[in-house]
């Protein structure tokens, strides 16, 4: 029961951060989905690739991302994602929020020892 609550909160926290990270990665320039996965795996935010696609699709349908098809030397053509100007606006807002959150968390955990 209590572990379920923990999992739920974890999921909520990760979900928000994951979107922020994806937008950040894509904002650097055109990128292929599995390259995004690689970076997120390195950051230990993501374990499997399949998780990324629904997220990308949703961000795209919300108008924060766009993509273009590009031919690949191996296999089928690839979708390369890039951030839209709306996405850029959202990212800037998230940047501000992230700094606020970071500050809030630091203040909150400052007087406590984390095990």
């Amino acid at each position: 029961m209590y572990s379920m609550i923990a999992v739920n909160t974890q999921t909520q926290m990760r979900k928000g951060i994951l979107e922020y990270c994806i937008l950040s990665i894509i904002s650097r320039g055109e990128i292929y989905a599995s390259d995004i996965t690689r970076e997120l795996k390195k950051a230990e935010l993501l374990v499997v690739e399949g998780t990324l696609y629904p997220l990308l699709t949703r961000l795209k349908n919300n108008g924060l991302l766009s993509y273009s098809w590009q031919e690949s030397t191996s296999g089928p053509p690839r979708k390369y994602y890039q951030i839209t100007s709306e996405g850029m606006d959202v990212l800037k807002k998230l940047d501000v929020t992230w700094k606020e959150l970071l500050f809030a968390v630091q203040i909150s955990i400052a007087n406590r020892e984390i095990i």
Binding site: V7, T11, R14, K15, L18, A33, S34, L46, V47, V48, E49, G50, T51, Y53, P54, L55, L56, T57, R58, N61, S68, W69, Q70, E71, S72, S74, G75, P76, P77, R78, K79
Partner: protein, 581 residues
Amino acid sequence: MNKTIIININSIVFHIEEDAYENLRTYMIEIKKHFGKSEDSKEILEDIENRIAEMFSERIQLGRKEVINMEDVTQVISQMGRVSDFETEILTDDNLKESIESDPTDFHKTSADAGPENNADEPDYSSLIAKKLMRDMDDKVLGGVCSGLGHYFNIESKWIRIIFVLFFLFGGSGVILYFVLWAIMPKAQNRADKLSMRGEKANLQNFKKSFDEEMKGIRENFSGTGEHINRGARSIGDGLGRLFSSIGKILAVLILVATGFTLIGLFVVLVLHVLNIMGFQNDVYFPPLEVLQPTGAFFAVLAGTLAIGIPFLALFFFLLRLVFKTKPMNNYASMTLLASWIVSIVLILYFVISTNQEFQEVSTISVEKQLAKKETFIFSENDMRVIKASDEDFTKKKFNLNLTEKGLSEVLRGDISIQFEAIDSLKNPYLQYNYHAKGKTYSEASERASKISYLVNQQGDHVIFNSHFSINKGQLYRDQRVAITAYLPVGTKVLLAHELDHKVRDIWAHDCKGEQKNYSEWIMQKDGFKCIQKLKEEKEKALQESLDEKEKVEEQTKEGEAAEKTDQTGIAQRADATNAA
């Protein structure tokens, strides 16, 4: 030994072992169940399938490993993640969750051939997608411009080509247009470009379609040949291509240099013209410009230079791009060039039409002036431009004139004609001047005609014609002409100086060669102005002819007498014969 199954994921064909296939299918059904049937899920599944296809093709090595086995499938699945991973790792969007339970059964049929069928019921939006104007490199004769235009306007490229050839035949404008378009239109380099050129949506289905078409083409080209032959043919093709491209490059550099010089030349001509219009005289001058006011002439020269220069400029940049692989001109610049080219052409048309209006009405003013009566007149010319007769320093002459005659060279015209008419021998000779000019209205034309100043000068026997008349300062060229008719009493002799030969009309002064070196000799008769030399020749000829006729008559009478004699002898002989009998 294992049985393999052929599957098709997003248009790519894989051989897969049977047990691996079963595993993959179960996985796909799971995923499909997980994401449900919402609009989003279609795309997510497409993405996942596409990625799986990519991972499979990365695992296949031609010649060594051509079949997907269980291990591959397991690894791909673990990389992609199971549905359980998706759930723990976060996401399952709320809207997706709702549709999870809804009817997963129909997936079964399409799981193996997953991909194209998923989208089969999607409406065709191709007609709604904005097309891009690009050069089609697959269907090209020169640069693929025509086929690109064909795609853009939905016309078969051969019709566009025919139109271009027609344009080329009628004035060559097609060539210029072609090169301009060649420079402006980007190449359709990859498949996405090609799709947007045809106005098709750049989605997976269309990618597949275009890929299939391409493959079909390749298969048709190389049917029945092995891979190595295929490669050999390609490398020969590449070699030829390289050879042609190096020849083409040399040609391109040559044309580039020529175009560069043309541009410089055009610029120099423009500068000289502008200087001329501003009043700094030089020899470079395009005669039709004199019908315009200085400001008009300036714009006309500018427009003319742009109209010729911009196509050359476009060609220049295009070749620059071709030879040095520089970046294409940005759209902004090329569109500006195209626009100014069109504007300059419109401007030229405007000048042509508006100036034409200025020549609508004709006016002629007629004036008669008496000449003192003489037995013989000597008609000669006074060249107004010549202050010191020398052909070497032409411009200096002009400047001399400028200094002495207050810029008269601008207003001097040489359209003077002289005619001769006969009058009664007792009357006095006179000259009739017809001053002629054109204008927008009749009054404008006649005002212009009245401003022409030209009179002939008589000094004793000498009648001196100035070589030019003045249309007076501030007047533009509007076809001003002076026609002079000399009415001379019958019997008057005229010595016509050869420098007037090009001014006289109706008679051929060149043909009239007399004893005098610088003059041709003429006499006015009742039936017109006659060359004295010709008259003499005619008389001699007539004399000769009459002599000839006399001789002929004499000969004929002699012959007649001779014939009579033979007749008589014949009769005598016959008489003898009858006597003998």
